[in-house]
């Protein structure tokens, strides 16, 4: 992205058009958006987010959940939890949407080369990790084993179910899924995502781990990863805080000394480990 284009996207939303809206779960939808301008502007690092704007309603940070190799479109998986996200998911194809970004730090894709990649996702946390999964699968020989551990509340809250099955069939790839509550017709694992670790075929010494989900889940998972032998230096988390400007000016997203919008959202675990345990930080 050129410097001028970067500055342009910084404060002012760029118009985009919603091409498709797919319902993933009762409250989560995946939007595919295209922009009229150059393809360059659709480039992003897996793990980055955009600020999505609903005309006159508001703006929210949403992780980009699509394939980084696809420059024609940007994909976002949005959970309806408030006024603006509710408006976003009510979009119909053809409606316009404002986009600023991409912002933030991405997953350590470069550092992962030649190593096993362990991805642990909880709930909608799979959305910002999906671009990293695409990246690994699109460039399979650059990386070692791919292990995806994914937990959700219940079977109907699982995201991307067809893709999960497709990924599981990829070479050197293991996909393990679990739900907190099984319900009828579920024959898979029941239990929290940490219970999947014993079945994961990992080489901890040469693994890099990427985790995204509710903060409590990430704390349990990092502990488990540590017990499995994955070092804190090889573990990365995606954090979330109130975000408004995405440029490090409004001050809302501060987490200790870090601005989540520009020093994150992806952080090496070693950097934020002491902060995770602190109450009301």
């Amino acid at each position: 992205m050129t410097a001028a284009a970067a500055q342009l996207d910084a404060m002012v939303p760029c118009p985009g058009v919603v091409r498709q809206v797919v319902k993933d779960t009762p409250d989560t939808f995946t939007l595919t958006v295209s922009r009229e301008n150059e393809r360059e502007q659709n480039a992003f690092q897996p793990g980055q987010f955009s600020m999505l704007w609903m005309f006159g309603v508001g703006e929210v940070p949403i992780s980009i959940s699509g394939d980084p190799a696809n420059r024609e479109q940007l994909t976002y998986t949005v959970r309806s939890v408030g006024k603006t996200t509710e408006a976003l998911v009510s979009h119909k194809p053809g409606m316009s949407i404002g986009i600023r970004g991409p912002f933030g730090t991405g997953w350590p894709i470069e550092a992962a080369r030649g190593r096993d990649v362990v991805i642990v996702a909880g709930g909608i946390g799979l959305a910002p990790l999906r671009p990293a999964i695409y990246e690994v699968l699109n460039n399979r020989d650059r990386y070692g084993r791919l292990v995806l551990l994914y937990g959700a509340r219940s079977p109907r809250e699982l995201l991307y179910r067809k893709e999960l099955a497709a990924w599981a069939r990829q070479p050197n790839t293991q996909v393990l899924v679990t739900v907190d509550y099984g319900g009828l017709g579920w024959h898979g694992n029941v239990g929290v995502v940490t219970t999947l670790f014993k079945s994961a075929r990992l080489q901890p010494a040469n693994s890099i781990a990427m985790i995204c989900g509710p903060e409590i889940m990430m704390r349990f998972v990092t502990r488990q990863l540590g017990e499995c032998g994955v070092t804190t230096e090889s573990t990365y988390l995606s954090m979330e805080r109130n975000m408004q400007c995405a440029l490090g000016f409004c001050g809302h997203c501060q987490y200790g000394p870090h601005f989540i919008c520009k020093d994150g959202p992806v952080f090496p675990y070693a950097k934020i480990r002491p902060l995770l345990e602190k109450h009301e930080l």
Partner: protein, 433 residues
């Protein structure tokens, strides 16, 4: 077509530990697609602001004496150059910043009596024009305004278009800028004119400000700039520096240039070169202001002190006193947090994005879906103080505090940041609740 205005060089300052002395990067000021226009900056604002430390080759800079009775000539010289003059004036029981036109607007003969939770204007027994320190406002009122429209947009047939008819504010001259206030501007420069992103609103307002600094010759009880290394001596970043010399019937100003621009202005009026005794008198007055300070913050290891005391029971003690009224953040010259608000008109086809000052003391500040992270007042006070004195150093290479003492004066509960640091250092749990 993009309109690029080269942002003027950042004034050099002693606090750029993060960026060192490398020149400020070129920044595109206006964000332009064809639908965004800003009015072209008037030529006068493209002049570089003050850039040099007075110490650097100060022998080359003019140091003159101007009788106080003729200070009005400075106003005239600045007005003639097209500057809108902003300075101190007494109103509503405080010394505030506003547009002023002449010496008559200055708070002559007034001083400010300040203590924790106490501010009074008191008559002096002389007619000093700058015989006070700082009021509730700071220059961020102009540089980083409390309320500003970022942009507007229109919707037609489902598609939207961004419009920007922002007029650039008139070039301004600030008269009466204290050392701590200059330090505050430099601190905010590092926040809002960062390498990655530049706030164009701040940049446009900051650029080309003509700064007439005033050295404090007295301190309030709440001042502690000396311990923060930010004053009372004004060391750089100004165009002209005034030191008021009041000696019985003799009332004059030591007026010194700090930049090329300042030199040019000085050339316009008759002054006598400053003599040794006047220079010494000025120096002594500023030194006395420093010695008179009764408060201080010991900066030694302050970052570690605050980081390690996250769970200190002292925070509970402060929380019992703090009302989370956010006064401190409003008066603080370096607090920069804002919130963004999207609004529409009744038709729903015209939208605007506004930016307003916000405060980490509000409950909503840390809200994410499900609730706020910092719910207790304890966590919010701790956030403010730890950010100001410790995290700021990690983020921007210097303390966020300039020692101006406003937060002490304007806290209705009289919470004293210097006292809180001392208590934390000494393991003193119980404050003056």
């Amino acid at each position: 077509m993009e309109e690029e205005v080269t942002a003027a060089e950042k004034p050099r300052n002693r606090y750029s530990k993060a960026s060192g002395d490398k020149p400020a990067p070129e920044r595109a000021l206006s964000l332009s697609a064809s639908s965004i226009q800003i009015n072209a900056a008037p030529a006068i604002a493209a002049q570089p602001p003050a850039t040099e430390e007075i110490g650097a080759g100060h022998d080359a800079r003019t140091r003159a004496i101007l009788p106080a009775a003729r200070l009005g000539e400075l106003f005239q010289a600045l007005a003639a150059r097209g500057f809108e003059i902003v300075g101190p004036t007494a109103r509503d029981g405080a010394i505030v910043y506003d547009r002023i036109t002449g010496v008559a607007d200055l708070p002559a003969g007034w001083t400010d009596e300040q203590e924790a939770a106490h501010y009074r204007l008191v008559r002096r027994n002389d007619q000093a024009l700058f015989g006070y320190v700082v009021g509730p406002q700071s220059w961020k009122k102009y540089l980083h305004p409390a309320e500003v429209k970022l942009w507007a947009a229109e919707r037609q047939n489902g598609a939207f278009r961004i419009l920007n008819n922002e007029t650039k504010p008139a070039p301004r001259a600030f008269i009466g800028v204290r050392a701590c206030e200059l330090a505050a501007m430099e601190i905010q420069d590092r926040v809002l004119l960062s390498e990655k992103y530049t706030d164009p609103i701040y940049a446009a307002r900051r650029e080309g400000i003509f700064i007439v600094a005033v050295q404090c010759t007295q301190s309030a009880a709440t001042c502690f700039c000396a311990s923060m290394g930010t004053g009372p001596e004004v060391k750089g970043g100004f165009d002209l520096r005034l030191t008021e010399l009041l000696d019985g019937p003799k009332h004059q100003f030591l007026i010194e240039a700090g930049s090329e621009r300042g030199e040019q202005v000085l050339l316009e009026f008759e002054t006598t070169p400053a003599g040794e005794s006047e220079l010494r008198q000025a120096e002594a007055a500023v030194e006395k202001a420093a010695r008179d300070q009764v408060r201080s913050i010991d900066q030694t290891g302050i970052k570690e002190l605050l980081y390690e005391n996250f769970d200190s029971p002292r925070w509970d003690d402060v929380a019992a006193r703090c009302l989370t009224c956010a006064n401190c953040t409003m008066v603080c010259p370096t607090c920069f947090c804002t919130s963004v608000e999207d609004v529409t008109d009744v038709t729903g086809d015209h939208a605007e994005r506004w930016r307003r000052w916000d405060s980490c003391f509000t409950l909503n500040f840390s809200y994410i879906h499900g609730g706020s992270i910092r719910v207790s007042s304890k966590s919010r006070y701790r956030q403010w103080m730890t950010h100001k004195l410790a995290a700021w150093i990690d983020q921007f290479g210097s303390s966020g505090c300039t020692g101006c003492g406003r937060c002490i004066t304007w806290c209705p509960a009289g919470i004293d940041i210097t006292e809180e640091v001392r208590a934390m250092r000494e393991g003193d749990i119980h404050g003056n609740a």
